[in-house]
């Protein structure tokens, strides 16, 4: 690991001032940053430790019915907050399907949003990667790329955003509060991550020194709580990133969908909101035919970036299946394997 300076910020303004220097990076839970620094993919000159900034570890119900989650709230604390789980069950299912318990105990809300792609060429400093080293090329394009993007990619970069948490959040119109040199501002989570285009290294809408201080869910996000699920296909049952995932949330009146929210993960460089699929479902009945139509709409623009054409069909099937799960209703208690297409076989639960 390259040597670096370390400073522990005492206030948000002090942190923003310190992190404005070129080569500075924020340290929160460190679960992704230290991993990247050990491999040399990231080489900051200075870490600004924000883990103890006062006031950023709170979850507050807002007067308008929305919810504000401090950026330093740990993933495990949010997932196990009973009020949060009742109102936003798909977000909890996504959180608990991600990483391991140890990592969820350390990783933060803000850090989850800003975690980097798990493209192995981004991690491997001997490989060409336009995201890590602008202009160096993309070794993923003709490499091992079965897990890479099928939506919104460019020949400059075919990496995906790895977050599960962001998928239901973007479906729920989450908003990100940012403190920067010019003060406080907010943007839709959907606008935080950028598609690669010609500048894949420019990953987010953040400017140098910008600090995410909170995440906000609008009041209507809780209105889907009775029919909200997240489904994630991985290459092993637990502690793995998504091959593809989807969140679905339905506002149902009798057998008819008043409104729907759908987003996909593991398919693009950002959590992918599928608005055309949502429109296809508005006013539709809860039928498999309607779900299939929505899935086709969600993936209409998809194209393989390599050996990953299978992901397009897989993502469609995940959308249909998560819609079926959402239609059936949010379960009283999350399944033993959150977001997994595999469920425990009744009767075998007794055996260790």
């Amino acid at each position: 690991m390259k040597p670096f300076d370390y400073v522990r910020a005492a206030s948000v303004s002090q942190a923003v001032a310190a992190a404005g220097d070129p080569g500075a990076a924020y340290l929160a839970g460190g679960t992704n940053l230290l991993d990247l620094m050990k491999g040399g993919a990231l080489r900051p000159d200075m870490l600004v430790d924000i883990a103890r900034l006062p006031g950023l570890d709170r979850i507050d119900r807002l007067g308008d019915g929305g919810l504000r989650i401090g950026a330093m709230v740990r993933n495990a604390d949010l997932a196990h907050d009973a009020d949060f789980a009742r109102s936003y069950p798909a977000v909890v299912e996504a959180l608990l399907s991600g990483a391991s318990a140890q990592i969820r105990n350390a990783a933060t809300v803000g850090g989850n949003l800003l975690q980097r792609t798990r493209c192995s060429y981004f991690y491997d400093v001997a490989s060409a990667c336009n995201r890590r080293e602008p202009g160096s090329g993309c070794d993923a394009l003709h490499g091992e790329n079965r897990l890479h993007a099928v939506l919104g990619w460019s020949p400059n970069c075919i990496a995906t955003h790895p977050s599960d948490f962001c998928v239901p959040l973007v479906a729920m119109d989450a908003v990100v509060e940012i403190e920067g040199k010019a003060g406080r501002r907010e943007i839709a989570l959907e606008a935080l991550h950028r598609l690669p285009g010609d500048t894949p290294a420019h990953e987010t809408a953040l400017e140098p020194g910008d600090l995410i201080v909170a995440l906000r869910l609008p009041a209507d996000a809780a209105s889907f709580a009775a029919h909200a699920r997240f489904l994630k296909v991985r290459e092993r049952t637990s502690f793995a990133f998504a091959v593809a995932s989807a969140a679905a949330a339905l506002d149902v009146d009798g057998g008819t969908i008043r409104s729907a929210r759908i987003a996909l993960g593991g398919v693009a460089a950002k959590p992918w909101r599928a608005r055309t699929a949502e429109q296809a479902l508005a006013g539709a009945d809860l039928t498999e035919a309607a779900f299939r139509k929505a899935a086709e709409a969600a993936l209409a623009e998809a194209k393989p970036s390599g050996d990953n054409a299978f992901k397009i069909e897989l993502a469609k099937r995940i959308v249909v299946r998560v819609l079926k799960l959402a239609a059936a209703g949010t379960p009283e208690r999350l399944p033993a394997l959150p977001a997994s297409p595999f469920s425990s076989v009744p009767g075998e639960r007794r055996y260790a």
Partner: protein, 165 residues
């Protein structure tokens, strides 16, 4: 530049000066405090062999900068046994053959204690397995590990009931 931090490690307060901010909690424990129970398996948060308790929560000590944990309470595998009496989780791992080579075992045991403290898994083996998925055992002792966790959980709950009575 030298940094000073204090940590309470297995109940003992330690004043520590670090001349390099790169030191992880794992390296601090192993290389400077001579607590080699926590293991360096992958050093990247993927194997769980380095799991310790920090402020009553299980974390990967390889992915935490020691400096960032100033003031924390750390418990490692060395802090579990009371003199010659093993912690119930340690005893259960032996009773159920929850290990073969033993390399991952300190991390497994610390993780299992964290799992029980979190109170999410209950007595469902599937939930225990899911909750322990951050700990890899390449010998494949998973069945014994799950049995040990379930048994130790009962013993610890019984101890709590007795001490409350």
């Amino acid at each position: 530049m030298t940094f000073s931090i204090s940590l309470t490690v297995n109940g003992e307060r330690r004043e520590i000066s670090l001349d390099d901010p790169r030191v992880t909690l794992l390296d601090l424990l192993r290389e400077r405090l001579d607590l080699t129970g926590a293991k360096k398996g992958c050093d990247r948060g993927q194997c769980g062999a380095c799991t310790v308790m920090v402020n009553d929560r299980r974390i990967n000590s390889c992915l935490a900068l020691a400096l960032s944990l100033d003031g924390a309470h750390v418990v490692t595998i060395e802090g579990l046994a009371q003199r010659d009496e093993l912690h119930p989780m340690q005893a259960a791992f032996i009773a159920h053959d929850g290990l073969q080579c033993g390399f991952c075992t300190p991390g497994q045991i610390m993780s299992a204690i964290g799992l029980i403290g979190e109170g999410q898994a209950g007595d469902d083996p599937e939930r225990v397995r899911e909750g322990m998925s951050g700990n890899i055992c390449r010998c494949g002792a998973y069945r014994g590990i799950t049995e040990a966790v379930l048994e130790a959980q009962e013993i610890l709950a019984e101890q709590d009931r007795r001490s409350a009575a």
